[in-house]
C-alpha cells in the first residue's frame, strides 16, 4: 500500500498476558443482543429456495416405485431430486461406505430420505414432500442389539484388546461376578437444528455455509456429489448453535442437497431441518449393551476382567469404528485391570445410523465399568469409594490396550475431592438415615473419569492455522477448528495474543473457511484447542522469527533479545509500540503472514491388534453426587454435587468451568430423564422436545460445587493445558451410581438392583421394587 494508517495505540496496562484469564466467549455480546448470525439468520435472496426431504415409512424395505408427480405439481415446487439425479457419488459416508445422500432400491431406517424438494418457501417444501406415493416391499428389520447379535449382523468386524491371560486369572480369582447394563442413546438436541446454505458461483462451483464441525469433509463430499474438484467448493462455518458431535458427520447431507439444488437451479438454496426431522433423520449417541465378568479378592482388588461392549451402530458404519474403539478403551475407566479381554461388537440395526456424541463411546464404556465397581463393593461389603480407590491406576500400570499410565493425578484428585465433599461423614449420615422406614432414601457416590485425549484415528491428529498481522498492528486469526459454543475461538485468540505479546482486542477472530486453512480435521475428540492452539502458535512463531531477525538487523541487537510484551516490542534498548514496529517491518519488506501446522506427537495404534498408544494423555476429574429418592414413585432430586476437574493449566477458567458444568448437566440428562424410544416398527416416538426431556434449570443440583484441580499437564500441550470438551460429560455417572446406591439401601446393600440408564422415575421405581423383593439381577453370561 502507498500510505500506512496510524498504528493502534498500545493497550493501557490491561494488555497483560491474556492466557489464564476468564475472558467471555468471543461472541458473548453478539449472542445476548441477537446480532450473532447463524446460517438461518443470513439475509434471504429474492430467489431463495428451501429444501425438504421425503423419507421411508419402513425400517427395512425394498423400494418398488416412487411416484412424485403430485410432489412436482405442488405449489411452489421448483425442483425435485432422487438418487438417480445425483451427478457424482451418492455415497456420502465419512469413513466407510453406506451412507447414501438419497436412498436407492432399499431403505434401512424409518425416515431415510428417498427424494428431496426445493421450493419457493420452507412451508411449501414441507407440504410438497407429504404428497409422494412410494410402494415398498417390507423386509424383516433388526431393531435391537440382541437381534443383531443373534443374527451376527455387524457394520464392521469385531475387535479385541487383550492383556495378560484373563481366563486363567478369572478362574484363579477368589471371587467372580458378572453383570449387564443396557445403556441408552441420546439425542444431541443442539438448539440450532441442522442447517446449510449454498450459493452457485460463476465458475461452476458452490459456496456453502454449513453448521458443521467438519467443514473440510463437507467440502469434499459436496465436491464428490457434484462431481467437481474439491477446490471448486468452499465451505464457511462461522458458528454452530451447538454441535456435541451431532454436526461432525451429520451436517453433510444438508450441505450436499443444498449444493445440488444450487447447481441444478442456479439459485441460492437453504436447507434447515425442522426439529422433528432433525430428531428422526440424524444419528444419535449409540445405545450399548455392556457385559462384564470380573475376578477380585476380598479387598475388592480386581484380578481380571472380561468385558463385552456391543454398540448399536444403526444401519451403517458412519463413525462407529472409532466410537466402539473408544468404548473399549474406556471399559477400564480409571482402574487397573491386571488381566483383561475387551471385545467390541459393532451391531447393525435398521435404525438411523448412530454417530458421534460428546464422549464418542467412552461414556458408555465408563458407565459399564462403574456399574462393575459398585457391584464389587456390594459383593465384598466394602464402601464403593474404597473399591474404586484401591483399583485406581498408578504410574507404570498399563491399560488393556497397551498404553502406559504416566501420571498419578487421579489418585491425588480423588483424595482431594473425598476431603472437600466430606464423603466419609456424609456416608455415615446416609447409612444412618436409610435405616429408618420412611419413604425417602438417600444415595451417594463418588466416581472418577479418565478420558483419553487424541483422535484414535492417528492421521486426524493434525491441524492448521493462518495468522496475518496488518500494518496497524491488528492481527487476523484463522484456524481449522470450528466454534460451537465451546470457546475454542477465544482460547486460540488468547494463545495468539500471548505469543505475540499483544492485547486480546487486537486479535480479530474469523470464520472457519476451507479456503483459508485446507484439509482440516473435525473439531472433535476434545482436541480443538490442543491442536489448533498449537498450530496458531506455530504460525505466530514463524512470523516472530522473521520479526526477530529483522529487528536484530535493524536495531543491532541479538535476535533473542527481541521481546514482545504488552503491545510493545523491545529490541535491546529500543522500545516500540507493536503497531509501529510491524509498520517498520512492512516498510522493510518482511512477510507478516504465516501458516502454522501441528501434529500430535507420540501416538500410534494398531487397530487389528488392539494395542498401542492411542492417546497423548488423559484428562481426569471426579464428581461426588448425593440424591434423595421417593421410593413410592421413583421421583428423585439431585441434592448436592461436588466436582473437582483437571484441566491442566487453565487457558480460560470461565470457559473451562462452563464446559464442566454444561457437560455435567448434559450427561446427567442422558443418564436420567432423556429417554429415546422407538416403537415395534422401528419408528422413533420420542421425536420432539415434548416427549424427549433434556434438563431444565430446575434440574440443576441444589448445591453445585465445581472446582479446577490445579496442576499443569505433564504432557507437552499448549501452555500445559488439558482438553475439557468431553470428559465432564462422564462426571454425572456419579448421579446414576448414587441412584443405584439409594435403591440398594432397600436390600441392605447386598446387591445393586438393575437400573439401566436413563434412570427415569419409572425405572428407579422398578429398581426399588427389585431391591425390596431382595432378588438380585440374574447373572448375565
Amino acid at each position: 500500500m502507498r500510505k500506512l494508517v496510524s498504528p493502534l495505540p498500545p493497550g493501557q496496562g490491561s494488555g497483560a498476558d491474556p492466557v489464564g484469564k476468564a475472558l467471555p466467549q468471543d461472541s458473548a455480546e453478539r449472542h445476548v443482543s441477537g446480532r450473532a448470525v447463524y446460517i438461518d439468520d443470513m439475509p434471504v435472496y429474492p430467489n431463495q429456495l428451501h429444501v425438504a426431504v421425503g423419507g421411508s415409512e419402513h425400517a427395512h424395505a425394498r423400494v418398488e416405485s416412487i411416484d412424485l408427480s403430485k410432489v412436482r405439481a405442488a405449489e411452489g415446487v421448483v425442483d425435485v431430486v432422487c438418487h438417480a439425479d445425483i451427478p457424482g457419488s451418492a455415497d456420502i459416508s465419512p469413513v466407510f461406505d453406506g451412507d447414501l445422500l438419497l436412498a436407492d432400491k432399499e431403505v434401512n431406517f424409518v425416515g431415510q430420505p428417498l427424494f428431496a424438494v426445493a421450493a419457493e418457501t420452507y412451508e411449501q417444501a414441507h407440504r410438497a414432500v407429504q404428497l409422494a406415493k412410494v410402494i415398498y416391499t417390507p423386509l424383516e428389520p433388526l431393531l435391537s442389539i440382541d437381534a443383531a447379535m443373534e443374527a451376527q449382523a455387524f457394520v464392521l468386524p469385531t475387535r479385541r484388546s487383550v492383556k495378560g491371560d484373563p481366563d486363567t486369572a478369572l478362574a484363579a480369582a477368589e471371587h467372580t461376578l458378572s453383570g449387564e447394563t443396557r445403556i441408552a442413546g441420546q439425542e444431541h438436541f443442539y438448539l440450532e437444528g441442522q442447517v446449510s446454505a449454498a450459493e452457485p458461483e460463476e465458475h461452476g462451483g458452490v459456496q456453502v455455509y454449513s453448521s458443521s464441525q467438519h467443514p473440510s469433509e463437507v467440502q469434499k463430499l459436496v465436491a464428490e456429489v457434484l462431481d467437481l474438484p474439491i477446490g471448486a467448493v468452499q465451505v464457511q462455518v462461522r458458528r454452530m448453535g451447538g454441535g456435541f458431535g451431532g454436526k461432525e458427520s451429520q451436517a453433510a447431507p444438508l450441505a450436499c442437497l443444498s449444493a445440488l439444488f444450487a447447481r441444478r437451479t442456479g439459485r441460492p438454496v437453504r436447507y434447515r431441518m425442522a426439529r422433528r426431522d432433525d430428531m428422526v433423520l440424524t444419528g444419535k449417541r449409540h445405545p450399548f449393551r455392556h457385559r462384564y465378568r470380573v475376578g477380585f479378592d476380598s479387598d475388592g482388588l480386581i484380578k481380571a476382567a472380561d468385558v463385552e461392549v456391543a454398540g448399536d451402530c444403526g444401519c451403517t458404519a458412519d463413525l462407529s469404528e472409532g466410537i466402539v474403539d473408544r468404548a473399549m478403551h474406556h471399559s477400564d475407566n480409571a482402574y487397573n485391570l491386571p488381566a483383561a479381554r475387551v471385545t467390541g461388537y459393532r451391531c447393525k440395526t435398521h435404525t438411523v445410523s448412530h454417530t458421534a456424541f460428546r464422549g464418542f463411546g467412552g461414556p458408555q464404556g465408563i458407565v459399564g465399568c462403574e456399574a462393575m465397581m459398585d457391584d464389587i463393593a456390594r459383593a465384598t461389603g466394602l464402601d464403593p469409594l474404597d473399591v474404586r480407590k484401591r483399583n485406581l491406576y498408578r504410574p507404570g500400570d498399563t491399560t488393556h490396550y497397551g498404553q502406559e499410565i504416566e501420571e498419578n493425578t487421579l489418585i491425588d484428585l480423588v483424595a482431594a475431592l473425598e476431603q472437600r465433599c466430606d464423603y466419609r461423614r456424609r456416608r455415615m449420615q446416609i447409612l444412618e438415615a436409610n435405616r429408618g422406614d420412611g419413604p425417602l432414601r438417600r444415595g451417594l457416590s463418588l466416581t472418577p473419569v479418565k478420558f483419553g485425549i487424541s483422535f484414535t484415528s492417528t492421521h486426524l491428529n493434525q491441524a492448521g492455522a493462518l495468522v496475518h498481522i496488518y500494518t496497524d498492528g491488528s492481527v487476523h486469526l484463522n484456524h481449522g477448528g470450528t466454534e460451537m459454543g465451546q470457546g475454542l475461538y477465544i482460547k486460540v485468540a488468547q494463545i495468539v495474543a500471548r505469543a505475540l505479546g499483544v492485547s486480546i482486542e487486537r486479535v480479530m477472530i474469523s470464520a472457519t473457511r476451507t479456503d483459508k486453512v485446507p484439509n482440516t480435521s473435525p473439531t472433535a475428540a476434545s482436541a480443538g484447542t490442543d491442536m489448533n492452539g498449537m498450530a496458531a502458535l506455530d504460525a505466530c512463531e514463524t512470523i516472530l522469527a522473521r520479526l526477530r531477525e529483522f529487528a536484530a538487523g535493524h536495531f543491532g541487537c541479538a535476535a533473542d533479545e527481541v521481546r514482545f510484551v504488552d503491545d510493545h516490542v523491545h529490541c535491546g534498548e529500543q522500545v516500540l509500540g507493536f503497531g509501529e514496529f510491524v509498520s517498520l517491518a512492512y516498510m522493510n519488506r518482511v512477510s507478516l503472514s504465516a501458516t502454522g501446522f501441528y501434529k500430535t506427537p507420540k501416538i500410534w495404534f494398531d487397530k487389528e491388534q488392539g494395542q498401542g498408544r492411542p492417546f497423548l494423555y488423559f484428562a481426569t476429574g471426579a464428581a461426588c453426587s448425593e440424591v434423595l429418592v421417593d421410593t413410592r414413585t421413583g421421583e428423585y432430586r439431585v441434592q448436592r454435587v461436588d466436582i473437582l476437574h483437571d484441566v491442566g493449566n487453565s487457558l480460560n477458567p470461565a470457559i473451562d468451568i462452563g464446559q464442566i458444568e454444561g457437560g455435567f448437566v448434559q450427561g446427567m440428562g442422558w443418564l436420567t430423564t432423556e429417554e429415546l424410544k422407538w416403537d415395534e416398527r422401528g419408528r422413533l416416538i420420542s421425536n420432539g422436545p415434548a416427549n424427549y426431556k433434556i434438563p431444565t434449570a430446575f434440574d440443576l443440583p441444589e448445591q453445585f460445587n465445581v472446582a479446577l484441580f490445579d496442576r499443569p499437564n505433564h504432557a507437552e500441550t499448549i501452555y500445559r493445558s488439558k482438553a475439557v470438551g468431553e470428559p465432564p460429560l462422564m462426571l454425572p455417572i456419579s448421579v446414576w451410581c448414587a441412584l443405584r446406591d439409594a435403591c440398594a439401601s432397600l436390600c441392605d446393600y447386598r446387591f445393586n438392583p438393575r437400573l439401566d440408564p436413563p434412570a427415569t422415575a419409572e425405572r428407579v421405581y422398578w429398581a426399588v421394587q427389585q431391591a425390596r423383593a431382595g432378588v438380585a439381577p440374574e447373572a448375565a453370561w
Binding site: H31, G34, H126, G242, G658, G662
Partner: protein
C-alpha cells in the same frame, strides 16, 4: 392490523392467516435475533415480550403465537433491548456471568430475564433463585448447564437501572377501532379474525362455519408449525371479553375459557396451594401467559393437566353455539372418547364453572412426569373429599393419563364412602384404582407404572388428607425430614 414492535408502530395487511409471530419477525420484519429451536413452544429460543396497555411484560413463545395475537400490543424482541448502544442489564449480566456458549438459546433467555427484570424492578425486590428458575423453566439450554444463567438473573438488578424494558403499545395501535367481526388481516386465501365480544364471535361463526378457533394456540398452532397445514379462517378467541373474565356468581366461580393460566395463578379464589402447584408445572411461563382452560379441555386430550382437577371439583362447562344458544354440561359428561368431546361443530366453550364449595373441600393433586418442569404428565391424580374422623361423606377422585379420556375412579370413590380413611379403606381404594384402569404404554410411561402410580399417588394423598405429614423430594420439608433422621 397494527402493533408496536420494539417501540415503533408496525402495520400488517396482506398475510396468511396462519402466519406465526416468529415467522413474521424473522422473514418480514428483518429481526432474526429471535430463534426457532423447536417450533412447538417447548424450548423458549423464540421468547419475546408482549405487553398490553397495562405495560406488564409477558413472555410468550413467538413460534406458536399467531401474528394476530399481538394486534394492538407491544412486542419487544432481543433487538429492542439495547438503549443508546448499551446492553440491557439482563444482557450485560449474561455476558458477565458467561451465560452464553453456543448462543442460540441466549436471546430467549435474555427475554425471559428481561421480563423478570421489569417485574422485579416494579416490585422492588431482587429475584430469588426459585423465582429466576421459574422464569427460565421454559427455556432450554444444551450448553451451559444453567448455573451461569441463573446467576445472571440473580445479579442483573445490581447493574445501573433501566427505566423501562417494555413500553406499552403506542396510542395509535392500542386505540384501534374496527369492525371486529371482519377479518383483522388476511389475503385472497385466508382470513384471521379477532372478535372482542361474543356477539361478534357468533357472527363470525355463522359466516365461517369451517373456522378454527384458537386461544393460547399451544395445540392448534402445532398443526401449522409441525404439519404445515393451511386454514381458510382462523378465529382468535383470546380477546373475547366474556371469555376472559374470572368472576364469582351464585357461590360458583366462572372461569372464562380464554383466561390465561397466569390469570388463574393470580386469582384469590384459586389460591389453593395444590392447584397452584399444578399450574406452576403446567407448561412454562411462556405457555401460561397465553394458554387457558378452554383449549386444555376442548382438545380432548387424556393427559391434559386441568381436567382431573376440574372433575374433582365438580366443574361444568357452558357451551355456546353460533346462534348464541348456551347449554351447561357437567365435565363428567363432556368427554366421549380419545380426543372426542360433546362439543358440536360451531360450538365453543364460554366458561368453566366450579362450585366454591367444591374448591373449599380438602384436596390433593399429584403429577408425575419424566421431567419436573414443563413436561406432560404420565399420570395426574386429583382427589377431593369431605371427612369427619375417618369417615368420608363426599369424595371425588380423577385421573389423567389412565384412560382414553380424563376419568374418575368411581370404584375407589365408592370404597372410600363405604370404608372411610382407615388403613384398610385406603388400601381398598388404591386396590380399586389399580383394578379399574387399563392404561396404555407409551413414550411417557408403561401401563404397569401408570397403574402402580395411580394407586400410590392416591395412597400418598389420602394419608396426607388423613393428617399424616407431607413427605416429598420436592418440598423443602423433605430436607428437614431427612435431616431429622440423620
Amino acid at each position: 392490523m397494527n402493533f408496536t414492535l420494539n417501540g415503533k408502530p408496525c402495520k400488517v395487511e396482506h398475510c396468511d392467516a396462519e402466519i406465526t409471530l416468529l415467522r413474521y419477525l424473522r422473514t418480514r420484519a428483518n429481526l432474526p435475533g429471535t430463534k426457532e429451536g423447536c417450533a412447538s413452544g417447548d424450548c423458549g429460543a423464540c421468547t419475546v415480550l408482549l405487553a398490553d396497555t397495562d405495560g406488564e411484560p409477558r413472555t410468550v413463545n413467538a413460534c406458536i403465537t399467531p401474528l394476530g395475537a399481538v394486534a394492538g400490543r407491544s412486542v419487544v424482541t432481543v433487538e429492542g433491548l439495547e438503549e443508546n448502544g448499551s446492553l440491557h442489564p439482563a444482557q450485560q449480566a449474561m455476558v458477565d456471568q458467561h451465560g452464553s456458549q453456543c448462543g442460540f438459546c441466549t436471546p430467549g433467555f435474555v427475554m425471559s430475564l428481561a421480563g423478570l427484570y421489569q417485574r422485579s424492578q416494579a416490585q422492588g425486590v431482587a429475584p430469588t433463585r426459585e423465582v429466576v428458575t421459574d422464569a427460565i423453566a421454559g427455556n432450554l439450554c444444551r450448553c451451559t448447564g444453567y448455573r451461569p444463567i441463573i446467576d445472571a438473573g440473580l445479579h442483573m438488578l445490581e447493574y445501573p437501572a433501566r427505566a423501562c424494558t417494555v413500553q406499552p403499545p403506542t396510542q395509535n395501535s392500542a386505540a384501534e377501532e374496527r369492525d371486529d367481526s371482519a377479518p383483522l388481516f388476511g389475503n385472497a386465501r385466508s382470513r384471521f379474525y379477532q372478535p372482542c365480544s361474543e356477539a361478534a364471535l357468533q357472527r363470525i361463526l355463522q359466516a365461517e362455519p369451517g373456522a378454527r378457533l384458537v386461544a393460547g394456540g399451544t395445540d392448534f398452532m402445532l398443526e401449522i408449525s409441525q404439519l404445515y397445514k393451511q386454514f381458510e379462517a382462523v378465529v382468535d378467541v383470546s380477546r373475547v371479553v366474556e371469555l376472559c373474565r374470572i368472576e364469582q356468581r351464585d357461590e360458583t366461580l366462572h372461569i372464562g375459557a380464554s383466561a390465561p393460566y397466569a390469570a388463574l395463578q393470580a386469582y384469590p379464589a384459586l389460591a389453593s396451594p395444590e392447584l397452584q402447584a399444578v399450574l406452576h408445572r403446567l407448561g412454562s411461563q411462556q405457555i401460561r401467559n397465553r394458554a387457558g382452560l378452554g383449549g386444555n379441555l376442548a382438545n380432548g386430550s387424556p393427559i391434559a393437566d386441568t381436567p382431573p382437577v376440574l372433575l374433582c371439583w365438580e366443574a361444568s362447562l357452558e357451551l355456546v353455539n353460533a346462534a348464541g344458544e348456551a347449554r351447561r354440561v357437567p365435565l363428567d359428561e363432556f368427554y366421549l372418547d380419545y380426543r372426542k368431546t360433546v362439543l358440536a361443530a360451531g360450538e365453543y366453550i364460554r366458561s368453566v364453572q366450579v362450585p366454591l364449595a367444591a374448591i373449599a373441600r380438602p384436596h390433593r393433586f399429584r403429577k408425575l412426569s419424566k421431567r419436573f418442569e414443563d413436561d406432560i404428565s404420565s399420570v395426574l391424580m386429583a382427589v377431593s373429599l369431605a371427612s369427619e374422623g375417618e369417615s368420608v361423606s363426599q369424595v371425588r377422585i380423577a385421573y389423567g393419563g389412565m384412560a382414553a379420556t380424563p376419568a374418575r375412579a368411581l370404584d375407589a370413590e365408592r370404597v372410600l364412602l363405604e370404608q372411610g380413611l382407615s388403613d384398610s379403606g385406603i388400601a381398598a381404594a388404591c386396590g380399586a384404582v389399580a383394578q379399574h384402569f387399563k392404561p396404555l404404554t407409551d413414550v411417557r410411561a408403561s401401563a404397569e407404572y401408570r397403574r402402580a402410580m395411580a394407586a400410590n399417588l392416591l395412597e400418598i394423598a389420602l394419608r396426607e388428607l388423613r393428617g399424616e405429614p407431607v413427605v416429598s423430594v420436592w418440598s423443602p420439608a423433605s430436607h428437614s425430614e431427612v435431616a431429622a433422621h440423620a
